[in-house]
Amino acid sequence: MFGLSAKDTRLFFIVTGLVAFAPFLMNPFPTGSAMAQFNAGYPDLMQRFVIFGIFAIGFNLLFGLTGYLSFGHAAFLGAGSYAAVWMLKLLTINVIPAILISTVVAGAFALLIGFISLRRSGIYFSILTLAFAQMAFALAASVLTPITGGETGLQTALNDPRILDGIASSGGNIPAPALFGLEMRNSYVWNVSGWTFTFNAGYYLAGAFMIVAFYLSMRIFRSPFGLMLQAIKTNQTRLNYTGLNSRPYTLAVFVISGMYAGLAGGLMASMDPLAGAERMQWTASGEVVLMTILGGAGTLIGPVLGAGFIKYFENIFSKINSNVLHEWFAFMPDGMEDFIVTILYPFVGKGWHLTLGIMFMMVVIFLPGGLVEGGQRIANLFRRKKSQPSEADGAKTPAE
């Protein structure tokens, strides 16, 4: 269906289903129960899941397919955010032009950087993209303050021109970004016997974009163009010997990947009309690398999993403080309780980065294919267990 094989169609429908029913799936615990803090079904976090999912899918197109490790991808996300906020300020509070323009601007930016950086490969490419991104970050935070708002960031204001809307339309408040009148922060809250489910307009818009982005990445993976990119990863020298110039292919995928990042940035600005320079910093670029690798580079679903995983931990794990730990282990004898809390405490709350770092190292060391490979191994384990008894049955039958 949609030009996908049966297996891919199934995966596509699974992802669509997950996105559509995320408000339920993310809130498995009743509000007010002890486990409620593990609920992730609030709009802000769900929006981040899908937006960073888009970002990671785009990064994976570049890194997973061609093996070019860009350490400056956050620059495109930042450029997209700035473009989107400017659209919201100047043109209209409607998010559609903002999202489109952010994608285009990030694509143009990626074309420029990619054109220069792709002259080199390997670590030189990584350093070049890193250098460009750091330059963009430093300039955005200092000299370009009239455009970027410097360190305070760029925000929408009451007296923005908003040519299409007119100033009068704001009615005394800074208008919130909206899709033809439907404000992005609007939520429908459904209370059902102890559970609370929140359906947020912004989340569903971003989710729809993520499904489209996922579909496109699937098509790119399975296309002749995608095969060419995988050939570049496998052996670029041999490809060049056959008379093919690989540069146009790498440049094309670099721009596509930059546009994904710009789309993510535009969506981020549409959910919350704020753009800051820190989105371009190299640690932000490092984060998307972490997401992609953790989930599984070169796989379709991996980056989405990785993005969700990291954002979940960032928001949920970091909220666990020593009081919560003491509550959990309250059933133990006093000395034991204190001991366990002392041991666990550095790994949660403010120290969740430590857990993330350790987990990331474990994944790189033992599971080069990321969470996806881990899932496959577990699945294989079960399949083998299932198939073994059937074989045993088969062996028995003739004896009877």
Binding site: R120, S126, M135, L354, F360, V364
Partner: protein, 343 residues
């Protein structure tokens, strides 16, 4: 003229730090072929060695001092470092004052052990993996190391002052015949530069003039042949990793009075030191040192008021700009060898 000399001097101390870190990175890369993203973390751990030693030296016990009274007339409790009891007040105070230079002695064995454990425990398993995997696992290690430091020492910078003798500044203006007070330069930065020069010279001498260094250089050129000659080259490369860690650590120890150490200082330096290594040419030790100083001085020139007025923001980006230009015009960096990391 005096402004130019001042900027060159200003560039030297930052350049020394870049050169030392880049030297260690290149040692690791040249010997083991590993791109070590955790090198910035080693620099940071070195700085925290100084902090740790300072804390150990000032470990105190409480003594009731009968000669002083608090406002209620009770005898005052005074914290006396143990070191005063052992060496007497004067010597003890001097030792605490000199904590940062003394930390060199403390840091060398610590850093060598950390480096060798890192190599044997983790990086050894990554020789045959792609460079991207090496970058990723060392990047993860860098996060873990910096979070451990953060868990113990907190997120705020911890000042570790230079000895009293090196506080204050030296007036170069008077020395060189310019007006007094035009070229003022802190003593400690001079010390840092001299220290860096000594360490760099020592590393080069060690590689050039000792048998061990000769074997290592041979191993860098052709690892297999050296192995075939019956030399356990892996063991020596492990030691070189320890040495590189020590160089980074020493750079960190001596940098503490210039910049109070915090847990993310390693990451801040890491990006620039990678740029330095690549600009110098991957695998070239003189290239790393040269590029370190060149970029350090370039950065300080770009921070001059006249330059900033002419090209706003140039001080923020000059290093990256230089790196991009050099990489595009001289693909192997300033002094790079052919065939290193070209695929």
């Amino acid at each position: 003229m005096d402004a130019i000399i001042l900027q060159i001097l200003n560039g030297l101390d930052k350049g020394s730090a870049y050169a030392l870190i880049a030297l260690g990175l290149t040692l690791i890369f040249g010997t083991l072929g590993v791109v070590n993203f955790a090198h910035g973390a080693l620099f940071m751990i070195g700085a925290f060695c100084a902090v740790t030693l300072q804390r150990i030296l000032t470990l105190s016990h409480v003594v009731i001092d009968d000669t002083k009274k608090d406002f209620l007339g009770n005898p005052l409790k005074v914290e006396v470092p143990y070191i005063y009891d052992w060496f007497g007040q004067e010597t003890g105070a001097a030792i605490i004052d000199w904590a940062v230079p003394l930390a060199i002695i403390f840091a060398i064995p610590v850093m060598i052990i950390i480096g060798m454990v890192m190599e044997r425990g983790l990086i050894k398993h990554f020789y045959k993996r792609p460079h991207a995997d090496q970058i990723l696992v060392t990047f993860g290690l860098a996060i873990v190391l910096q979070e451990i430091i953060k868990a113990y020492y907190g997120a705020n910078p911890i000042p570790a002052p230079a000895p009293e003798a090196f506080k204050g500044s030296y007036d170069f203006g008077a020395l060189l015949g310019f007006d007094a007070n035009t070229i003022i330069y802190p003593y400690w930065r001079l010390v840092y530069f001299a220290f860096a020069a000594v360490v760099i010279a020592a590393v080069f001498a060690f590689l050039q003039f000792t048998t061990f260094g000769m074997v290592v250089r041979a191993g860098m050129a052709d690892r297999e042949t050296v192995g075939l000659l019956g030399i356990d080259i892996d063991k020596r490369f492990t030691m070189m990793f320890g040495l590189a860690a020590a160089v980074a650590g020493l750079a960190g120890v001596m940098y503490t009075p210039i910049n109070a150490p915090n847990y993310h200082m390693g990451m801040d330096f890491l990006v620039i030191s990678f740029v330095v290594v690549v600009v110098g040419g991957m695998g070239s030790l003189p290239g790393a040192v040269l590029a370190g100083f060149v970029l350090g001085i370039l950065e300080s020139f770009a921070s001059m008021r006249e330059v900033i007025e002419f090209l706003p923001g140039i001080n923020q980006v000059v290093i990256y700009l230089a790196a991009i230009i050099i990489l595009l015009t001289r693909p192997r960096g300033l002094l790079g060898r052919k065939g290193v990391m070209e695929d």
